[in-house]
């Protein structure tokens, strides 16, 4: 059975963009696939008038698609992990290849789904799950396959990058920019999934599994959101030579793996510091290739459709020859089945700390004593003059590299000082090549 007959589930932003790109670029796609790629069955709970299906009816029964004997490749763009999981399982059980853009589904159920696909002799591909249109999954799985990858550092959530970029460029407060992002459609009505780093954690766990040759481990990702970041943090960071980004990092660390999504200061002359607005980028450090970086639109209908189509064409190149596709899955037999996750307390980093200190003698000495007793070196210190009528001054400190647990203890001691008002803002400092 040669050629590809697509069954599309979901006609939201990505689904309707996919239909449009598939029509607009039909000749290019057929030439690259080496065979006909046709839309055979479309299902969606709602019809989408923005979408010209050329007379094809929209089936409201999504599970009819994986059961349709005329379909040999199912595209899952329903989202979520309820009906999406059910339909992907049904597709695999019926011997159909699957392409999905669903990061939550892959991060949470990927280990089982890849095993089910392998047993059924079909592929499950998910380029669109990470980095929108940037082909980062293919790059990690295939483009850098001769390397041992040491570290991934990515700006992989467009919402938080839009918010931090606008806060810095326009000197505005978090809450105000978030409201604007919601009005522009860059943030959901309930933005916590993006703002708290859950979305980025899903994507990071997928990239880390491929990079390190281990099973997916969504529970291993430590996350911090961006809601404690104030405009003055972005300004002080700039004075110190940094930009603040919501950064997802996975790295090998003394036989363990460290995965975290946190705000981070990154050197302003490194390329990641110039990734603004809703753009995404992933920096990869690997032993043979060195440092490389992949940049582009991390979300949106057509960029995501581009990634879905890359998977479709990959599968079609094999299906057109009646071969079983090689691509998809994690792209390896496990190299590291039981890599331990580094607990957050043991992670090490330099830190930026901002506190409000009483403008009186002895305060700096008290602060310095706490760092000294904790064995933490101070790399830089900014103290600003008090504003008119204020008795508190902002003090900003960059520490040397410190173990997270030691830093937390020092922050607790600092917050207990009578001369320190309120809580201390702390942001990791990430040193990066390239």
């Amino acid at each position: 059975m040669s050629g590809v007959r697509l069954g599309l589930c979901g006609l939201g932003t990505v689904g309707s963009s996919l239909v449009n790109v598939l029509q607009r670029n039909a000749a290019v796609i057929a030439a690259r696939a080496g065979c006909e790629v046709s839309l055979t069955h479309v299902a969606s709970r709602r019809t989408n008038p923005a979408c010209d299906l050329g007379g094809l009816p929209v089936n409201h029964d999504i599970l009819a698609v994986p059961r349709d004997p005329n379909v040999n490749l199912v595209i899952e763009l329903v989202g979520g992990t309820d009906i999406a999981l059910e339909l992907v399982r049904e597709a695999l059980a019926n011997g159909k290849h699957v392409v999905t853009a669903n990061k939550a589904l892959i991060a949470e159920y990927g280990n089982e789904l890849f095993a089910e696909a392998e047993a059924a002799g079909v592929s499950i591909a998910y380029e669109a799950a990470v980095g929108g249109g940037i082909p980062i999954i293919k790059t990690l799985r295939e483009g850098l396959s001769g390397n041992r990858i040491q570290r991934l550092a990515g700006i992989i959530n467009g919402t938080t990058n839009f918010v931090l970029s606008a806060m810095w460029e326009q000197r505005r407060e978090f809450a105000e920019v978030l409201r604007e992002a919601q009005q522009l459609g860059y943030a959901e009505a309930d933005p916590s999934f993006d703002i708290e780093g859950v979305d980025a954690a899903h994507k990071l766990s997928i990239m880390a599994a491929i990079a390190f040759g281990m099973p997916l481990q969504i529970d291993g990702v430590y996350t911090e959101g961006i809601c404690t970041i104030a405009p003055q943090d972005l300004a002080y960071a700039s004075e110190l030579g940094y930009r603040v980004k919501h950064l997802a990092v996975a790295q090998r660390s003394n036989g363990a793996v460290e995965m975290r999504v946190t705000p981070a200061l990154i050197p302003q002359d490194c390329l990641l510091a110039s990734v603004n607005g809703v753009k995404n980028a992933v920096l990869v450090e690997a032993d043979a290739v060195g440092t490389s970086l992949y940049y582009g639109d991390g979300a949106g209908g057509e960029p995501t459709a581009s990634a879905v189509l890359a998977d479709v064409v990959d599968l079609a190149r094999a299906l057109g020859r009646a071969q079983r596709p090689v691509s998809g899955g994690l792209g390896y037999t496990f190299i590291n089945r039981n890599l331990p996750m580094l607990p957050v307390e043991d992670m090490q980093a330099a830190y930026y700390l901002r506190m409000s200190a009483a403008d009186q003698p002895g305060v700096m000495s008290a602060i310095a004593s706490i760092f000294s007793a904790a064995g933490i070196s101070i790399e830089a210190l900014l103290q600003k003059p008090p504003e008119v009528g204020q008795t508190q001054v902002p003090v900003t400190i960059l520490t040397d590299t410190v173990r997270e647990a030691d830093l937390r203890a020092a922050v607790t001691s600092l917050e207990a000082l009578p001369s320190i008002a309120g809580s201390i803002t702390r942001i990791r400092v990430e040193s990066l090549d390239g």
Copy 2:
């Protein structure tokens, strides 16, 4: 015949790095390939003591490798287009897959070699031919396969980027920096292949063929070298908000294709402007994905070995299942077999012009008249005061978009003015997203 038994031809910088990475990362590579990848036969005209072959002898007869029945994948790292061409043809004729890092070979003979490979039922892969370790061939051939690509703009020659970066950062002259690059091994004893843009033209023609679905057309690339660029050009460009890079551009242009390698002013806030030293980057503009960028080490032993191994693992993933590999070649049936190349006279761009003008009344008016008569708008003009004892002043002009032929005519008229001394330096201005 499952598993991959490599025949390696060439033990220079890339060949010996390949042997080292293959040993160091043997477990990772086998896990990703899904089968054993072993070095079976090595040939080189010279032995390389930096290379531990684990007792494997070095055959000085390179053509014995493609004839060895124990080898099923030949890696060509000999370079040049004499023996390399012969050995690749021999490998294809003997039904062996080929991986090469040879951009000249692919750019000049790719059309024939891909046809020979297709006829023989084998693959020829060449990720390492462009962009060193950056997986840009895979990205264009597979990662963006659902897109119509409009434009590629790349910094794809490390030598010229090193020279221009050092000229700018250290305010030094071209000839002096070139000598240093030669001492550091970043430039050849005869640097003209890099400096004049021939190397970049080879790489650009390969990327353009894949991007636009057309045969390789190395003769269609217009090239200008960087030897006329002076340190003051980099300084004036900076005042105007630009950096000067040796830029390779391929774009669709009114039903034709425009391919050129020239110095270019690019906006200093775009990511390509921050690509310095021997780093490479390629920016891609495509209809669905928008603007994306790929950055990394564009040369060197291990980055190039990384790209060679990516091809080896891709082929191994299929060979391990006794399937014919899908990847390699140009990755399409021709979409555009007869796309015309745009002659350089018809290319359009804004231009930076620097001239030495007499410091006397009427000169600016004479200059302005020539632009006006040619229908060329002036977008910006910098006139510096004369240095002590000088009667000439440097005048720098940014024009609006103009047809190349019209610009050349205007420059000829300007150079004929008695008040203009010497020749006029002209550099394209490239407008870029991202």
